[in-house]
């Protein structure tokens, strides 16, 4: 009868099932935190760019035709994506919070409003817009957001830093807990370490048995946690939770792009490495106490 080597370490027991759950849950939380942080980053980027790029031009004592001529010329500027004159209905909607629904008197002179969307990375187009207004003979004010864009930028910077700190803290906690739980599970196998040691096994041989065992366990658990995080993210993304509506502009923008998948793949590998290193250090430390 041909025989095969069976594992020198026993099949997983209740302790390892608990360890599996702990690692899986921590990886789920860490992956979700990392994805949310990335979503926060993206939302902050988009919101910041939008604020810096939005310009409102208030035009007084002019007719719609002249205003639209000015908007056409502004649209032609290199840094401008779009420039258009708001319709009366849109202006009424804007004033509704102040005047109430249908509260705008018919004869009220309403200034023409031009909304301009520009690319802030190509510089502030306000001087060029003012020049065009002068050229078409319109009395108007250019109201850009550049004045408080620096404040917005620093606020977004703090938001990003906080999000990064949360991920770093959660990741460090996950690694520490995984290492501690691995250490505890391994101490319960001290009898096996002793028998192998006294049978003449070298330290490296014994350590490699435990390293392999806990590496695989943590990798599987981490993969489970990452898959759970993927499912939750997919649920949010495909149910419209990541939509770019006015109400959700400041919420994290969850997605499932390349880097999100990288995060999900790296999470179990990190857990596996933490468990593997913890197993190695624990075995070698316990053997160090022996001759």
């Amino acid at each position: 009868m041909s025989r095969r080597d069976s594992p020198l370490l026993p099949a997983s027991d209740a302790r390892e099932a608990a360890l599996f759950f702990v690692i899986g849950a921590l990886c789920f939380l860490a992956a979700l935190a990392a994805l949310t942080t990335r979503g926060t980053y993206k939302a902050a980027e988009a919101w910041g760019a939008q604020i810096e790029g939005d310009i409102t031009v208030i035009m007084r004592d002019t007719d719609r035709r002249t205003a639209e001529d000015a908007a056409d010329r502004v649209s032609g500027l290199a840094s401008v994506f779009e420039a258009r004159i708001l319709s009366r209905e849109e202006v009424e909607t804007l004033l509704e919070p102040s005047l109430g629904p249908g509260g705008m008197p018919d004869g009220l002179p309403v200034p023409m409003l031009m909304v301009v969307q520009a690319d802030p990375s190509l510089g502030d187009p306000s001087p060029n817009i003012e020049r065009i207004l002068n050229e078409v003979g319109v009395d108007g004010d250019v109201a850009g957001n550049a004045g408080y864009a620096d404040n917005v930028r620093s606020a977004l910077g703090v938001l990003r830093l906080v999000a990064l700190c949360i991920v770093a803290l959660l990741s460090a906690t996950a690694i520490a807990v995984i290492a501690f739980a691995t250490h505890a599970a391994l101490l319960a196998r001290r009898d096996i370490v002793d028998v192998l040691h006294l049978s003449g096994a070298e330290d490296r041989y014994i350590a490699s048995l435990f390293e392999r065992r806990f590496w695989v366990l943590a990798l599987q658990a981490g993969l489970g946690g990452a898959v759970a995080a993927l499912m939750i993210t997919a649920l949010i993304v495909f149910s419209g939770g990541g939509a770019n509506s006015v109400e959700t502009q400041l919420l994290p923008r969850l997605s499932l792009d390349f880097w999100d998948i990288v995060i999900l793949l790296v999470t179990p590998v990190m857990a596996g490495l933490a468990a593997r290193i913890a197993a190695r250090l624990t075995v070698l430390a316990s053997l160090k106490d022996t001759l």
């Binding site: 025989r3 069976s6 096996i192 006294l198 001759l291």
Partner: protein, 238 residues
């Protein structure tokens, strides 16, 4: 049973010089022990419970380092050995532990094969040898039995087979017949004697069994209150 190590002939297998051992809780358990086990000798170690027999054996199979003194095994000083060298020395020592120290999740076959596996040997190379040895100790029908399903005596025989499987240069046994019936005890002792005579394995057996001491004309060392003396009542006079 054919391994021969000519380099050992000039040096004792075991040499202890002024060895003492102190545990934190119980204080000194061995005091200034001087001992030489010549290559190919067969020696008994006896003494009352708590005298330090197991502690002395642990020093010899390198489970502990002495608090003071020197231990030489196979002619080599052990205190300055690297861990890799200590592991290599351990592979030349077969140990029958008093508490067996079998791995419950492995079968009898796998426990016996452990020293060979640790030594890097392939299962195909040692499979028949392991089965033969298990048959010899009367466990031919229990080769693949899990350890928890074996009786105390059967487990002891597995432990003995594990100690013998790699044909050690030094065999250290702590009460090896304590859990087997007298007939199996005699059989095991005859195996030890055969190993000693035919292969030259150095054997040290710790036992309380006075019948064994009478039956085998071998030197008997007695440990008492941490001190080692040669017993003149039993065993060989040399």
């Amino acid at each position: 049973m054919s391994r021969f190590r000519p380099d050992l002939s000039d040096e004792p297998a075991v040499r202890l010089d002024s060895v003492s051992l102190t545990y934190d809780r119980t204080g000194e358990v061995l005091s200034e022990i001087d001992l030489v086990l010549r290559q190919g000798s067969f020696t008994f170690l006896t003494g009352p419970s708590g005298a330090g027999k197991s502690s002395l054996l642990k020093l010899m199979y390198l489970a502990h380092a002495p608090t003071r003194g020197n231990i030489r095994l196979f002619g080599r000083q052990t205190y300055d050995m690297k861990r890799k060298q200590l592991a290599a020395i351990r592979r030349r020592i077969g140990v029958v532990f008093q508490e067996f120290r079998l791995l419950d999740h492995l079968t009898a076959f796998e426990n016996v094969a452990l020293p060979l596996r640790v030594d890097g040997q392939k299962i195909d190379a040692y499979s028949n040898e392991v089965i033969d040895l298990l048959r010899w100790v009367g466990l031919g029908e229990r080769v693949d039995a899990p350890i928890p399903s074996l009786s105390g005596g059967e487990q002891q025989r597995v432990a003995i087979a594990r100690a013998l499987i790699n044909k050690p240069d030094l065999l250290i046994a702590d009460e090896p017949t304590g859990n087997v019936d007298p007939e199996m005890g005699r059989k095991i002792m005859r195996l030890f004697a055969e190993l000693n005579k035919r292969v030259g394995t150095t054997i040290l057996i710790a036992t309380h069994d006075l019948e064994l001491l009478r039956e085998f004309d071998s030197p008997v060392l007695r440990l008492s209150n941490g001190l080692l003396v040669r017993d003149v009542e039993y065993g060989a006079s040399t």
